[in-house]
């Protein structure tokens, strides 16, 4: 595997880092969209995240990375979760959490999976060859320049991301397999807009800018240059920091189920969403889930107003009804609403 730039060595971009950590702690939040200027380390951060995450247990050889702890007897590969095959306990191996790239030029058959051409031609066997969605199961699916992705691929993604299941009906194959992944998209809004439906699939939306602080910029250049010259040494230098973040994620995952939310905080969240007029309950749910994940990362026992405040922009920014006549950006509107709810 190629050496990737360490997560902890990324300068600034705290909102993006927080969002990615939240997604790692609580995958149910539903993905992260990173929009921003070019050359701000969007792709770098996502690729770096993968190396931080603790390895996950899978049934050895299962092409859908089935969890050996699951009760799922329906795995298409026939590994049957912890029931195993023929009463035998499944063999468990630990693998890195998959971060699967969906490159722009990908074709539909590679994304959803298709008939295994080789086996069909040579052996006459009708076998299913899993695609990227299968490989991304229980991990991350990363799309760079998501706003340039072809429409028919977006259609596929929308459906799968919503249902957590990939249904394949093509060339005589009828198969469904789990495809639960955290969708991470990045792009530059100047290149084109995202479909509102796709926007909605992302739990969090982050806006990032080129660091305007000179010292930060110099640090970016310095670290990048050091990395380019000797990747291994650079990664070793940051390994300890990276390990700390990894431990933080593990601890937060453990703590997450026990984080309580007081009625007062619930009320604040509802009020915030009401003032902003977000569509449906998704915004509110995401807001609370994200706040809980951040509280867990903080080591707190309950969600406080401060947590809400920190996550509100990224959880709600892309859910505001587009008011074309209001020139103020979404972020500004959220800030105004927050002032109303939390006070200055």
């Amino acid at each position: 595997m190629r050496v990737v730039f360490p997560f902890s060595a990324i300068v600034g971009q705290d909102e993006m880092k927080q969002a990615l950590l939240v997604a790692a702690v609580s995958p149910t939040i539903g993905g992260v969209l990173v929009l921003g200027d070019r050359g701000t380390g969007k792709s770098t951060a996502v690729r770096a995240l993968a190396t931080l995450l603790p390895k996950m247990a899978v049934v050895t050889g299962c092409r859908y990375s089935s969890d050996p702890a699951t009760d799922d007897k329906k795995c298409v590969d026939g590994c049957n979760g912890h029931h195993g095959v023929n009463g035998q306990k499944p063999e468990v191996s630990y693998v890195p959490v998959p971060v699967v790239d969906l490159p722009l030029g990908a074709t539909e058959d590679r994304v959803v999976g298709a008939l295994d051409l080789e086996r069909a031609l040579t052996q006459g066997v009708k076998a299913f060859e899993p695609g990227l969605l299968a490989r991304a199961n229980r991990g991350f699916l990363y799309i760079d320049e998501v706003n340039l992705l072809e429409d028919h691929l977006i259609d596929v993604l929308l459906d799968v991301a919503a249902s957590g299941e990939n249904v394949v009906e093509r060339e005589g194959i009828s198969i469904r397999h789990p495809a639960r992944f955290v969708l991470v998209g990045s792009g530059n809004p100047e290149e084109g807009e995202l479909r509102p439906q796709l926007l909605d699939r992302f739990g969090l939306s982050v806006e990032i800018r080129t660091p305007t602080d000179l010292a930060a910029r110099i640090e970016v250049v310095r670290r990048r240059d050091a990395f380019d010259r000797d990747p291994e040494a650079f990664v070793a230098q940051w390994a300890e920091e990276d390990a700390k973040i990894g431990a933080l994620i593990v601890a937060a995952r453990d703590r997450l189920p026990n984080i309580s939310v007081s009625d007062a905080v619930l009320e604040q969240a509802s009020k915030l969403c009401m003032i902003l007029g977000t569509d449906g309950l998704r915004g509110e749910l995401t807001l609370l889930r994200t706040a809980r994940a951040v509280a867990a990362l903080d080591g707190a026992d309950e969600v406080l107003s401060d947590h809400l405040r920190r996550v509100a922009p990224s959880s709600l920014r892309h859910r505001l009804r587009r008011n074309v006549l209001d020139d103020a950006g979404s972020t500004v509107r959220i800030e105004r609403a927050m002032e109303e709810v939390f006070g200055k």
Binding site: S43, P103, A120, E150, E190, T210, L214, I218
Partner: protein
Amino acid sequence: MSEPDAGPGASSPWASAALAAALLAVDPVGIRGASVRSLAGPARDRWLGLLREYLPEDAPMRRIPTHITDSRLLGGLDLASTLRMGKPIAERGVLVEADGGIVVLAMAERLSAGTAGRIGGVLDRGEVQLERDGLGLRSIARIGVVALDEGLADDERPPTVLIERLAFLLNLDNVVESDLSAPVIPPSQVAEARARLESVTFPDDIMVALCSASVALGIASVRASLLAVKVARAAAALAGHDAVTQEDAATAASLVFAPRATIIPSGEPQEDEPPPEEPPPPEEPSDPDQPEEPQDEDDSDTLDPQELEDMMIAVAQAAIPDKLLAQLREGKDVRSRAQSSGGSRAGAAKKKGRRGRPSAVRAGEPTPNTRLNLIETLRAAAPWQPLRRQEAAKEGRTATLVEVRRSDFRCTHFKQRSETTTIFIVDASGSSALQRLAEAKGAVELLLADCYVRRDNVALIAFRGKAAEVLLPPTRSLVRAKRSLAGLPGGGGTPLASAIDTAWMVATACRDKGQTPVLVFLTDGQGNIARDGTPGRPMAEADAIASAQALRVSGFSAMLIDTARRPQPMAQKLAAEMGAKYLLLPYADANAMSKAVKATAADSVAAEGRIRG
């Protein structure tokens, strides 16, 4: 440095271009490449020849045409071998074949945003990641890119996704024949530099100064600084230095930063003030108490950091192309112009690679409107192979490796629906009083929101004063559209004829790209500036009518929204002359208007279909 023409102040455009070629050959992967803006000609040929000489002999240099398909670019299924062998055989794409060398993109200004994005991704990662045609592969592709940009107009440039990643943005238009014979760096020196590159160190104070200079010149992206660091190191290697010197950094600044500058740093003697518009990154780098932390450990015996930075800015500034400099001086919004390029081309080149978007793969024989999809055809044939082999044996003939029948044919269908481009032509003149202008802007934004939902393109032309101006070339980005609307000033004369002519030009360009243009005029029809820019109502009206008639001949769909309080006979007449629908704003609420535009668009798409069909 021994070569007189290779110093930091490399004065003639050719000398610096030649230096850039040498630097690129020293470190193609780090420097990423160059965009060479020039028409085909001796200068460009000489430059490419020079680059070839500088590169190692075995380094590939592959030329890529704009219409390259993804399967050739990135790799895909080798159909001939697949059929021969009876199992999928991967074929390497051009980018992988060019590993260790240079890829030359011909007519890069016509490149589609998608292809450019793919190449950009490969540049970033140094590898091609393939997920196509039942193949999943990763192959190393450490390449540099030379984008040959033959654009003439300002907005005719290669996609920003690509050129943003290339260190050098060269322009060979001003190179004169006599320059070409000037002595250049010998290839042997480049080869030595390549060997030395690894060991060149980079003093921290120089790196700090380089970054500061980029901020001072208003360069937003950090990528430029990263590229400059690579260029400086290559320059040091080329000059035989063990560590990067000020000169090397200055060379990098002049080559990388100068074409990207968006502001002239303040404190500049010959200029009055920095451009007022477009607040650049908020630092004031020329501020003497700017924190420069690494300063304390700076023990170099040369310039102090501030002087160093100033020197680099001065060098970069000296290298800023005259035209750009003039624009900067006028305080023009250079940055948004540079940014507009990528988006505007996004719709442009798409037509070449695809005829509509591939919509579905269905069984059936190929027709002129569909294309045989070989992979899907093979897939369809695959399950039947054993059976067919038996059949063949029964019939007493030897079976081919893959027995394909007519019924296996699968064809890719393309959605022929061409994109609609709604072109707004907004009257920003004095006769459209300020309040009316605000209403017009509101109407445009509502329509824009609707275009956005339908994923159509939007363009914006404003007219006031002496002539019309294209504020926003066709784009899909609502962000950009809103920004250019927000900055729309009002007042002045009404150059209606010029507006209609400009609209015609934009619409024709759209049609050439395979889009369906729909024109929406927002005006009261009271033209008072003639086509040649002279005031006078009668002449202006005659010109406007003539332009309107010309527009009608082209058969574009149009609608005219009257922004006056009461219906204006002139506006009605104009609408009739250009064959446009007429709508009065007070009675047209947002919904009615967006419906009207939609209906006009639908009509025109149908009409286009008839013309093409």
